[in-house]
Amino acid sequence: MQSELKTHLLRALAKNVRYDGRKLLEYRPITVEYGISGSAEGSARVRIGGTEVLVGVKMETNKPYPDTPDQGNLMVNAELLALSNPAFESGPPGEQATEIARVVDRAIRESKSIDVHKLVIKPGEKVWGVSIDICTINDEGNLQDAACLAVLAALQDTKMPKLTEDLEVDYDAEKTKEGLPLTREPVEVTVIKVGDQFFVDALSDEEKAIEARLTVAVTEKGTVCALQKGGDAPLSPEEVDKMIDIAQKLAPTLRKAL
């Protein structure tokens, strides 16, 4: 961001005033809707301010990976749809989309949010596969946090489908009442550093000024289950400590919206 514009932003941040009047550590209003797509086994829509993200979960059965015969499969995919931002182009996921997907994946996988051991149908032969697709609808900043929350909500909305005799999913039959074996609820808080100020839930305009950012996935126990540093400026260990602290304090705000 051009330095004069950044200086101007810093002046406002120093007075704890964001460009939309919020405080530095304040999130925009968050809403969560469940079951927005009847074709998915689980789905959700999350709005953080004007940013809107949809997530759909599809269940299938396939062979387990050779090195994990007693675990179900999990995949997270994200698309920054061209309809959500004039700068996005249609095509395969680029860097930003890939990062969003992988950081959410890490939070879900490493925290063992889904007990994949309970997703086995026949060990070594047939397991459940959970495919999570993140689709952005309107980008007004902070897609990462919105995406992770939407994924959590969609997983909570998911109901297991019935199986045919050949242990394939019967998509024509009504779903069972059983949900996924969920054990943890990691939410992601992305903390931004500009100059000597730290804030969360950046607007698109503020995102242009980012020097460094740290996405912190926090479980309901307050432990950290994933981290991702972005931006091209370095962070001191003290700054990292402070940013994790901020994330831990704000995670309950996001979780409350579920």
Binding site: M1, E4, L5, A12, K15, V17, Y19, G21, D205
Partner: protein, 258 residues
């Protein structure tokens, strides 16, 4: 065939909708005649002035016009000048001779004058049929922008934001104490206290949303007084050019023109 206007003044019409029947009516911009019908060609608000059917656009791209003052961003430094984005499908060129009254020696480093990412207030001096656009920085009030922040509104709403003889934008300046420059292309520059800027931005968004509704001036005066505590007089605004002022913001200074 009956001579009849089928909609009321200030009604919203959609493309393809018949507005009037009869040969005595004249189709204004945004409408067209098909046999004896006048049909809307855009989503907009109808304004019947005698026998002329006019359509006021509520949305649409900025169409660069001769003499328009716009806020532009430098996107390329050329051999003989700069390329500037003006929030339209067409970019514009600022040549050396139109850039400044200073003498620019041949081979000089043009980024010393305007660098990539700089914002300027300039004037459109030529638009060819092929949409090649020339701008100039020579003239009163035309200059490089320093500091402050820039927001974008629909260019169709700019006349309402400026108001009759600048009355609307003058009220916003009075109440918030911000320096404000409104470009015909929908870009607005503001510079004031962080709180003042937040209020000004909210005010412009409100005017944008309600531009087509009556009584806006009085409503905005009341809203501004509620938000800032400053009593603004919607009718006693001084006549001034729709550009802003130089210098420091005056929190409760009436007017703010030169």
């Amino acid at each position: 065939m009956t001579e009849e206007v089928l909609v009321k003044d200030k009604d919203i019409v959609v493309p393809g909708e018949t507005i009037a029947t009869g040969m005595s009516f004249l189709p204004g911009k945004g409408t067209y005649r098909e046999n004896d019908k006048i049909i809307a060609q855009k989503l907009g608000m109808i304004s019947v002035e005698g026998k002329v059917i006019k359509l006021i656009s509520l949305s649409g791209a900025y169409t660069p016009k001769l003499k328009d003052r716009v806020i532009a961003r430098v996107v390329d430094v050329l051999m003989t000048g700069w390329r500037l984005e003006i929030n339209s499908p067409y970019s514009s060129v600022l040549t050396l001779k139109d850039a400044t009254s200073e003498f620019i020696p041949r081979g000089a480093d043009l980024t010393q004058y305007f660098a990539l990412g700089d914002y300027v207030v300039c004037q459109i001096v030529n638009v060819t049929s092929q949409k090649l656009i020339d701008v100039s920085m020579k003239g009163p009030g035309l200059r490089k922008i320093r500091g402050g922040r820039i927001i974008t509104v629909s260019s169709q709403k700019v006349p309402r934001i400026i108001g009759k003889d600048g009355s609307m934008v003058s009220m916003v300046k009075q109440a918030t104490g911000c320096n404000i420059i409104v470009g015909q292309n929908g870009l607005i520059w503001l510079d004031g206290t962080p709180e003042g800027e937040v209020t000004a931005v909210k005010a412009f968004k409100k005017i944008e949303e309600e531009a087509h509704l009556g009584g806006l001036t009085d409503r905005m005066a009341a809203w501004l007084e509620k938000e800032t505590g400053v009593k603004v007089n919607p009718t006693a605004a001084p006549t001034e050019a729709p550009q802003g002022t130089e210098g420091e913001p005056h929190p409760h200074h009436f007017g703010g023109s030169q």
